[in-house]
């Protein structure tokens, strides 16, 4: 019997090469892609509980006086992320078949498959070298994925790439430092040795953790690396953006849960409040991330950029949840990770459907699409209700858990940040709803059709999924708790309907909320149905204070409020945002490097300097031999 683990990483890889050959047959290629992701989902499903499944290869490279072994192992945490990532990928893949038609084909299936290969590798890596290798593969392939052979996306991808490379460099440094400590690349051993290091050399241990943290923060876009998603998400292929937002933003989270969390929990670190100092830093970073993500999302006019920042904000929630170091918080964070996968795939897929039909990303140029694409609208609506954390949909329970955990750890100001962010979420979520789906339908979109069937199917599935998880949080909470039990935490098996918190008398029956909501809906419907009928009028038939748009020198089409939706808000925050724009700093830094680069290049073209430089070199050697 062929090794399951090996097959899981080989099949995407082989398919990647296969698809390269038949790249022009886009239907076949993307169907193959769907098949692979379906296969992975199925295999992962069967792998649940088989925690002794491993695969390893000896490389014949000696390190620490023993042969280097790369190994993959099935583990609860990795399985958890990998499984839900695969399911999400499968749904996106179904969407991709329809999306990548003659006009929209991005020809990226092979790279995406490599990305999936790296995805499995990251989640199941048993040693740091495997982890690092897969991490690099992921970074590089996602660069090509985002750039996808177009010029403007390539610029955005360059920004992403530079940050990725910073991340991989620090990760490598961290891995080698920690591996030197534990004399092995094994992840669990390195956790133990870092915990021991905290007892002897606190600062060094923090430095090592910091090296890892920078990498994870970059990949998950935690402050101060919150800028890249808005560029990368916006410019990547529209059907890839959901993957980027749902799956790829979780790598950093996975890394934190896998590596940083056990250390912070078990190491002997002086406490600060109910948690410890590094955890507090984590919490504050999470809080800043979500607040900044929210504010920047409110500023945005491009809908993909807006949701990129929304993803950033959500990552902030997850990080806050993790930083509590409590079981409730970790539950909430893991739960929210999955919820975020579902929600963002719903939102980005519906946006992709809109872009597929209209080819437009700027929100104020759209409008009224709900009347032409009702299903897409419903998917988006349920998506934002979830994203805003409104019951009875799925985003609520996880947010609730995180808030409860933060409150029970007395992290009050972090809670306030979280509340700010999730209230701010209404603003930007509604903004897209109002500008894209509601309001006046422009004339050129009068004849737009609903998204094709193959797109509608995955969107509907995701919609139902959101509802199902919202009503029965146990669908996710049961695996979450199984994972936590597998990781050695002391938790009970989750119930289907109820989520627990640390406070007294605050076990929340989520299913009941759904019932109550339905009851409320019934009562409201009664009022609605027993009132007099209404007549339908055209969309231009509006109250205009007795004047026509032409009276103001405008056209009916522009009789719409959607550009500069939150102008007053923007004016309030603009000065502050300008000040802390990491984007600008990085651009300035890039400019400096470019200038130095040009200067050096000129130095190399000037020939009269050659001999002089030779003498300078001799001088360096002489001075060096003398002084250093």
């Amino acid at each position: 019997m062929v090794d399951k683990m090996l097959m899981m990483i080989l099949i995407p890889l082989i398919t990647a090469f296969l698809t390269t050959i038949i790249l022009k047959q886009h239907k076949v290629v993307w169907t193959l892609f769907l098949a692979v992701s379906g296969y992975l989902s199925y295999t992962l499903f069967t792998m649940y509980g088989a925690w002794d499944l491993t695969w390893s290869i000896e490389l014949g490279y000696k390190i620490f006086d023993s042969n280097l072994v790369l190994s993959l192992a099935n583990n609860p945490l990795g399985w958890f992320f990998a499984f839900f990532a695969s399911v999400t990928t499968m749904l996106i893949a179904m969407f991709s078949i329809a999306f990548n038609d003659d006009k929209h084909d991005s020809k990226t299936a092979p790279i995406w498959l490599i990305l999936i290969f790296a995805n499995i590798g990251i989640f199941f890596a048993q040693d740091w070298l495997m982890f690092f290798g897969m991490w690099e593969m992921m970074s590089m392939s996602s660069y090509f994925m985002i750039a996808h052979g177009k010029e403007i996306p390539a610029k955005a991808a360059k920004f992403y790439l530079s940050l990725s490379l910073v991340g991989t460099s620090t990760l490598l440094l961290g891995i080698i430092s920690v591996a030197r400590l534990s004399q092995t690349f094994d992840i669990n051993a390195s956790i133990d040795s870092l915990i021991n290091l905290f007892a002897t050399d606190y600062n060094k241990a923090i430095l090592y953790i910091g090296l890892f943290a920078v990498t994870f923060f970059i990949k998950s876009a935690v402050f101060p690396f919150y800028m890249w998603p808005s560029k990368a998400y916006a410019e990547s292929p529209d059907d890839f953006t959901p993957f980027l937002s749902t799956v790829m933003s979780k790598y950093g989270i996975y890394g934190i849960v896998l590596f940083i969390l056990p250390i912070l929990q078990n190491a002997d670190i002086p406490a600060l409040g109910q948690i410890n100092e590094p955890a507090y830093i984590l919490a504050v970073l999470g809080a800043i991330t979500s607040v900044l993500g929210t504010i920047l999302a409110i500023f945005e006019t491009d809908m993909k950029k807006l949701f990129a920042y929304s993803s950033v904000a959500n990552i902030g929630y997850i990080v806050m949840g993790l930083s509590t170091l409590s079981i409730i918080g970790i539950q909430g964070a893991l739960f929210h990770s999955i919820n975020h996968m579902v929600i963002k795939s719903a939102i980005f897929l519906s946006l992709a459907a809109v872009i597929y039909r209209t080819g437009e990303r700027e929100m104020h140029k759209l409008g009224g699409l709900a009347y032409r694409m009702p299903l897409t609208f419903m998917v988006y609506l349920l998506g934002i209700i979830s994203a805003a954390g409104i019951p009875p949909l799925n985003g609520f329970a996880s947010k609730w858990l995180i808030i409860q955990a933060l409150m029970s750890q007395n992290m009050l100001f972090v809670v306030i940040a979280m509340i700010f962010a999730s209230t701010g979420a209404f603003m930007y979520l509604f903004r897209v709803l109002a500008s894209v789906f509601l309001g006046q339908l422009p004339d050129k979109y009068k004849h737009i059709k609903e998204a094709p069937l193959l797109m509608a199917i995955p969107m509907t599935i995701i919609m139902l999924l959101m509802l199902a998880i919202g009503v029965l949080p146990g669908i996710i909470m049961k695996p979450v708790n199984a994972v936590l039990i597998g990781m050695g935490y002391d938790v009970q098996e989750a119930s289907w309907t109820t989520v627990h918190s640390a406070f007294s008398n605050s076990d929340l029956n989520v299913t009941n909320i759904f019932y109550i909501f339905m009851a409320g809906a019934a009562i409201a419907l009664v009022f609605y149905l027993f009132s007099a009928k209404s007549v339908k009028v055209t969309q231009d038939d509006n109250y205009t204070a007795g004047e026509l748009p032409s009276d103001w020198g405008t056209t009916p089409e522009r009789f719409n409020f959607s550009y500069g939706f939150y102008q007053p808000f923007k004016e309030m925050f603009n000065p502050m945002m300008d000040l802390i724009s990491f984007d600008r700093w990085m651009a300035a830094f890039g400019k400096i490097v470019e200038r130095i680069s040009n200067g050096l290049s000129v130095l190399y073209t000037k020939s009269e300097g050659a001999i002089l430089m030779l003498y300078i070199g001799v001088a360096i050697l002489i001075i060096g031999g003398w002084i250093i």
Binding site: M407, L412, F430, F503, S504, I513, G520, F527, Y528, P568
Partner: protein, 294 residues
């Protein structure tokens, strides 16, 4: 079966009380203006009238949104204990209440936005900005309560104030109460925080395209909203109530304070309002929180 009956009863009660509050509010406002004012049941008559008139709709989203708005607020109301009674067995979690309330706002916003009228959109944009302004201080105050009682259940907070009048949280945390009152003013959309409605400026904002049944549903939503918001304050700071009557009277008291302030203040611009909310109520709430944490 009992639960279903309870739910219907509570909903109708809330709607009725809310509508009467609105009527009393109008009456009081008139008296402040030195007018006679309509009868206190005028709002009920208005709703019946509106419901029975023909109305115009732009598309299905309007219907969906208005129903969603009322749904959300009724759902919220069912989570709030009224004088220690609740419609069904729940732990009356504050966060659930806050988030459920949001669905009402979302539905309302969606409905009016679907009308395609720019005034409505401007109103919604202002309302959502304002929401960010008041939710944060309001929640900060609640956070203090939660930390104080080590529970996020309204019921628990309510019960903790039982007994003497001096157990009320208004005495325990007066600074927080003032902050909550200011936030409440904005939450109910009363002056000086009514930039989102601003009849003279943006033609009543969100309501501009509503007529007939939609405006009726809007009225009901508003009524339930008033009920919910005042009930929250009463539960948090006035020790709930021993009976439904005292509870409603306390609610009325809270409501009337808001109405009187509404009538003696001019209107803030939206950014001024948000700044105000983030400086004064927020500052007070934070001070309260720090005091509690120490």
């Amino acid at each position: 079966m009992m639960t279903v009956f309870n739910i219907i009863l509570y909903s109708l009660f809330a709607i009725l009380v809310g509508l009467i509050f609105l009527g009393i509010g109008r009456k009081v406002a008139a008296r402040v203006h030195l007018r006679y004012g309509p009868p206190f049941y005028q709002s009920i008559i208005d709703v019946i009238k509106l419901m029975s008139r023909e109305s115009i709709t732009h598309n299905f989203v309007m219907d969906l949104g208005m129903v969603m708005a009322l749904t959300g607020l009724i759902g919220t109301m069912l989570y709030i204990p009224i004088a220690g009674h609740i419609a069904f067995e729940s732990n009356t979690n504050i966060i659930v209440i806050m988030y459920l309330m949001a669905i009402g706002h979302l539905g309302m916003a969606m409905a009016v936005s679907a009308s395609g009228n720019p005034y409505a959109n401007i109103g919604v944009s202002r309302a959502l900005t304002m929401m960010l302004g008041y939710e944060v201080p309001f929640f900060t105050v609640m956070l203090g309560l939660i930390i104080y009682n080590q529970s996020s259940s309204v019921m628990v907070i309510n019960l903790a104030q039982a007994g003497s009048i001096w157990n009320w949280n208004i005495w325990q945390m007066p600074i927080g109460f003032i902050a909550a009152e200011m936030a409440l003013q904005a939450m109910m959309g009363e002056k000086p925080f009514d930039a989102m409605i601003a009849p003279a400026e943006i033609a009543s904002g969100p309501m501009v395209e509503l007529s007939g049944r939609y405006l009726g549903l809007g009225f009901l939503t508003k009524a339930v909203g008033v009920f919910v918001e005042t009930a929250l304050i009463v539960n948090f700071f006035f020790g709930g109530g021993t009976s439904v009557i005292t509870f409603v009277i306390k609610q009325l008291e809270v409501f009337l304070i808001a109405v009187i302030f509404d009538n003696i203040f001019p209107r803030y611009k939206i950014e001024q309002a948000v700044k105000f909310l983030w400086i004064f109520p927020m500052g007070l709430a934070v001070i309260q929180l720090i005091l509690l944490a120490i």
